[in-house]
Every structure is written in C-alpha cells, then in structure tokens.
Symmetry: none
Subunit: 423 residues, 2 copies
C-alpha cells in the first residue's frame, strides 16, 4: 500500500507557505503502514493538476490531495476533480446548510462565493469539516482511495482524523501489509563518519529478509547526528522485536554517545538527570553569551535545579563576579583551560550549587588569535570532587558556534553524570 501526497497551491511554490501539511501527512501515513512514495507540490492550474492526478492514479494506492478548496476564483481543485473522474458536479444540500450555519453563527451574511463550496462531484463521499466551510471529498474507485482536503492545516488534520484515516484503516484492514516502526537515537559531538565507524559492519544493522526490512539513516546537523532506525515487518510483534534488537545493537556499539532515544533534547535529558540525582547547577558563560542557561531554562520545572548564571563577557567581570585569578587571565588568556576551570569553580562556589559549568571561547567571526582559532571553546566542569575542562573546535559561524558550544557543554555534564571514568 503506497501513498502519494499532492499539495496544490501557488503560495507553496513561491515559498510563502512552508509545506507542513505534507510533513504531517507523511508522518501519519507511514505510521498507519501506508508510506508516502512521493510528495508533489503543483500550481493552481488545471492542466498540471490533471497530469499529476493521472500519474498518481497509475502509480499509487492512496492519493492525498490538499489545497485549492477555498471560495475564490483561484481555487479550482474540486472542479478539476470532477473533470478527472468525469463526474457530475452537483449542489450538496448538507454541505450548503453547514456553510450557511457557519455564517449564521458568526452573524455575517454569507457571500455568494461560498455557495460554490457546496458544489461537489457526485461520485464523491463528503467528509464533514467542523472546522471550516470546505468539506473533504473521498473517492474510492478501482481499489484506490483518493481524498481531497483543504490546505488550512487544522482543517486538513480534522478531516484526516475523522474521515480520511478511519476510511483507510477500515478498507485496508483485511489486506496483509507490513507494519512499520521507527526509532531515532540522538548523538552530539561525534561526527557522522566516526559514528559509522563505531557501528562497525553496517550489514549487521541494515538487513532485509523474507517479510522484513531494517533500514538505518544518518541525519546530521551542526555536530549532532540522529540515527533513525526504520523497521518494516509482517507483524507488530516482529517489528517491535527487530527494532529493539537493532537499537540495542547500536547502543552496545555507540551507547555512550547516545543522549536520547525518545526525541528528547539534550537540555531535557540533562534536566531529567539533575532532577533524578537531586543536583543543582549554575553557569558561567562567556562565548555562549547566555544561550547555555537559556537552553537549560527552556525546560519547564528547571527553576528546581538551575540556580543563577553569570554572563561574563569582559575580563573584569570574570574576575569580579566569578573570582577568576588575574594571573590566570594574564598568563593563559581568557580562552584557556585554567580560566574555564576557574570560572566553573567560581560560579559553583558563589552560587552554592552542586555543579558549576562554564564556557569560554571564540564564537567568531572575528577574535581569532595565534593558536586560538574561531570556533575554539573550553568547556569547564566543576563539582565537589572534580574540576576539569574540555577543548573543542567547531565552525567559523557565530550562531552555529554558540548553539553547538552550549549543547556540547550540556553533553559534557551528561557524560560526566552517566559514563564511568569519563574524565
């Protein structure tokens, strides 16, 4: 059972609207076992629409169409559906009443243009839309399901959930189809290719057999890599088993680097760890300029473990607010191992928290010095037992640097709290 998603509308083609509808439908369809083989966006143009409908009908079992159902002159999708199915185009009294009611409730006179929204191809089953004027239309012909919905995201979702998806599940429930399961493992601060090396023989992970398939995708972005495992199998039981086996194998190979297997962010993972271990944290930030603390406080409930933070951009502030020694700054500079350690210790002691975390580096694009390139960061960690700093070199881009430096600082805390002998 393969599906195709067709989005109709000039506003998507010119980039005025980001096509979140397709992403949502893609996710839902794959979860039901009807993965989309293709997503297409085309203009509000009869010829293009007809061409796409023909191709979709030939190649796919389920055709999900969104957009072009509004009341204005440029909305031609329904008319074109009637033409494609060579169906009569009739006034549907139930839809007309629904549209009229919407205007009556808002105490607004219905514009004539809205009557057009009650005209539907008579071959179609009308799917109710309680969230707007345009109904969904479903046509089941030659074993294929064709569904047209409005482009407004919440209307499309409403019709999908109440009409389109239940229809699909009922119709295809007896057909034997593969169950698809996915899980994504998140890593940070380890390169894509190095991660691949750690995983070892890829054919022990990616494999195909009678009635099942296991796929692995590497999804990198700014020093984070997500590993997405997709399993397709004849039964839920086998799919679950394969998924658990595969993610288990990956974890034995690269477990220390995986901070989440449940789509949690690094700040959420660290927050949960601190909460569980009843630890508090404070931050002394230089190059991350507040972003590290901002990430920590993105989590609701973080006021329970995040105490205060100090952004000490200037050397003077590093001395006055954090107690970094003048000699340290003079001898090693602000971007150095010892400064990072003194910052972390300073904030920990002054804020009376269990952990002190610091960043000092060169976010860029300017500020590089001999031996200290843009992208260099020292991340300092301090608790009652140990203080240390780690060095990383990232990119030449200021915003990317701030983001990954802040995330890497959180990852340093995570590793320290979870890996034996990380230091």
């Amino acid at each position: 059972m393969k599906s195709v998603i067709i989005s109709i509308g000039d506003e998507v083609l010119i980039g005025q609207v980001v096509n979140t509808n397709a992403a949502w439908l893609g996710k839902e369809l794959v979860a039901m076992g009807f993965p989309a083989g293709r997503i297409v966006t085309i203009p509000d143009n009869e010829k293009e629409i007809l061409k796409e409908f023909r191709s979709a009908y030939k190649n796919y079992d389920i055709i999900a169409v969104t957009g072009g159902l509004g009341p204005t002159h440029d909305d031609i999708t329904v008319k074109t559906v009637a033409k494609f199915f060579k169906s009569k185009y009739v006034l549907n009294e139930k839809v007309l009443k629904h549209v009229k009611n919407i205007f009556a409730r808002r105490k607004i006179q219905m514009p004539a243009a809205n009557i057009g929204q009650a005209l539907v191809p008579d071959i179609a089953k009308v799917l109710e839309n309680k969230t707007g004027t345009a109904p969904g239309l479903l046509i089941d012909k030659a074993g294929k399901v064709f569904c047209v919905m409005p482009g407004v995201p919440y209307e499309m979702k409403y019709i999908s959930r109440t009409g389109f998806f239940p229809y699909l599940q009922k119709k295809f429930s007896s057909k034997k189809r593969n169950v698809i399961k996915q899980q994504t493992l998140h890593t940070i601060g380890i390169g894509e290719s190095m991660l691949a090396e750690k995983l070892g023989d890829i054919n022990k992970i990616v494999r195909k057999g009678n009635g099942y398939e296991v796929k692995l995708a590497f999804l990198p972005s700014n020093y984070e890599v997500r590993l997405r495992v997709t399993v397709s199998a004849v039964s839920e039981f086998i799919a679950d088993k394969l998924l658990k086996e595969t993610t288990g194998l990956i974890k034995t190979k690269a477990g220390n680097f995986i901070y989440s297997d449940s789509e949690s962010s690094i700040e959420k993972t660290v927050g949960s760890l601190l909460k569980k271990k009843k630890l508090t944290i404070s931050c002394a930030e230089s190059c991350t300029g507040g972003l590290l603390t901002s990430k920590l406080t993105d989590i609701s409930g973080s006021s329970g473990y995040v105490m205060d933070a100090i952004v000490g951009y200037a050397n003077e502030a590093k001395q006055r607010l954090l107690g970094v020694k003048k000699e340290t700054l003079k001898k090693y500079g602000a971007v150095s191992e010892l400064t990072a350690i003194e910052m972390a210790e300073g904030i920990r002691k002054r804020s009376k928290t269990d952990i002190g975390l610091s960043t000092t580096g060169i976010a860029g694009p300017t500020g590089a010095r001999p031996g200290k390139p843009v992208g260099l960061v020292w991340i300092g960690y301090s608790d009652k037992k140990i203080s240390f700093a780690k060095k990383y070199i990232f990119t030449k881009d200021r915003l990317r640097n701030k983001d990954i430096m802040a995330k890497m600082a959180l990852e340093v805390v995570r590793r320290q709290l979870t890996i034996d002998n990380y230091q």
Copy 2:
C-alpha cells in the same frame, strides 16, 4: 524560465523533516524571475531519482536538487547524477583537499568514508561549500542548468548564494522578463489588525497598472508582524521607484513601530543603535533565563557594548547579585513593576553600564498566581536619567513566551532610544 525543485530523502517523506529548503528555494527563485513550477520530494532510491531527473529535464529550464550528499551508505544522489548524465565519476583533488582541511582544522583524523565526498561526475562544475564537506555540483547542458546541493539548510543556502544563483543570473541575464523586487518591514509588539488600521486605505498601497503591480502581505508570527511589499515592473528603475514610494508611505503611517527595513533582527537594530550612540548595556534576567543576553550576543561585535549579565532565577539571587530590596520582593512579589525597576537599576549600577535592562515574569506553563497569569512579564529599563517598567501579557507557551519577552525587552530599548517621549 521555469524551475523545478527536487528534494531527495526518506526523512522528508516520512515527515521527520519539514521541507523548509523547498520553501526557501521557491522564494529565492521567484524573486530572481525563475518561478518554480513544481516541487517534488522523492526517496533515496535510484530508480525514482532517475525517473524524476528525466521528467524534470524534459519540462523545466532550471533543476534544483537537494539532499543525499552525505558520506554514508544511504546517500546516493551524486552517484545517480553521474549515471543520469552518463558521466565519469572522478576524484576531485580540490574537494578532497577541502574535506581534509576541515578535519585537520578540527584536529580529527578523516574517516575513509569522507573520501567518497570528493568523488564527482566529471561533467559537473564544482561549487565550493565553505560550510561543510559536500560540495555543490552544477551541470549546464542543452541550455538547462542542473544543480545538486546538500540537504543541510545552511549548506544549501551557502552554495545557492555563492554559486548557483550567481550562475543563473549571469546565464539568463539577457532574457526579457519582469523585474521583481521585495522589501520587508519588521514590527514587534503591535497586532496585525492594529497595524492594518494604522496603514489606512489599503488601495493606496496595493495597486496594479500597465506593466506593474504592487502587493502587500501581512506575515504575523508570535507578536511580530512583517509587512512584505512585492513590486513587479517592466524595468529595474520603475520597480525601485515603486518600492521606495510604497515603503515610504508605510513608514509615514507606522514608522515608530518598524524596527527594520533590511531583514535586520531586533538584536541587530538595538546593537547598531548602542554602537552609534556609544552606550553600553547589561541585563538582569529572570523569566527569559539567559535568552535576552544570548540574543544581544548573537551579534558579532556585541562585546563592545554588552557588559555582563546575571540570570537571577531565585529571589535570593535577585537580592544578592542585583540588590533588589527584600521588602520589595515581600510586598509586591518577584513579578512586579518595582522588582523589574530595581533589577534594571541594580545591574546598571553594579556593572557600571549606561543602560540596565531586566525581565521578570511567568514563562509558564505553570507558576500562575491570582492576578499574575502565565505570559505576564514586566520589562525594566534604567539609564542615568530615567527608570521605568512596562507590562505585557503574551501566550501560554513557555518557549514562545521566552522568545517574545526577550525580543520585547530589546524593543523597549529601541523605542526609548528612538522615539521622542516614549516613556
């Protein structure tokens, strides 16, 4: 000149990634006069990719392809391009050197898999990618331009701006087409409908005539509204004139609320103002949790005007680090006008800066108290002459609140420094 955008990647089909690349490319291509006639997303599958390439080559002049250029087994785009053009697949020394340099700079040994990224079809012109390992590939054949770029958004944008777009503009510069010009005016903290009222008669802005058209779009997002003016005209001269006229008219109507007409962020606008006026700033943050200072320090050169900042989540920290009076906290609470003012004054005096800026509020989703709903924020401002606080109520969502509260604090500074008698 019609273009087509092809996105390659299973992650897009299953909805794990929203296709923002296509929206961005669609917007840029239409602005250059090469509107996309179609956007297609297909899987990492050779047969599907070849089929789409064939169809694209037949129907469009410009083919923009993104995705599938990574170093791992599931990245097959480049190989498939070589097959499609029946081109030899050769090692490009320049690309190899670039990839090696990236690893050398980070002092990491290059994994063998990355060598594969230097293999390119010999028919292709290599477009440099300073932001990552995979280069862009451009093939100009039979009057058509075919360009392949990585799917990572900032890499795709970098290659588009520095290689792909300049090539298109040069190649197609002689063709006659309408000139399209756009400018976007940014506002913050003023509602869409109130802004529309301020603009007055919309028909004086939106207009159409012989060979020209002026359009206006309201683009709202989380208490910011962007006004995008699009002008289409037969010549560059007329387009520029109309654009200047129209944005000028909007500025006379709503100028005080427009913080940027050049895609500058509010933090950039405020940073430039501080620099120009030779003023320094320090922040005392509670509900924004570091985000306000992080935004200020997003701007390169901000170390010249941002002194230190303190995130005082706990009442104790507000007293110890900022000098907020115990009685103030007791009588009015941490989220109050007086606390905001004392925080702003406290950080200004302790940091010896010209301006002190503070936020205290309830980011949510929990923490509401009678008379103090989630979304409430007091923004405090203090300089040598005046101290005051402003109250706003935003959303129920923590992350949206943090973002708009931080931006609104910057907007308070902007208005104070630019509007006569703002206080």
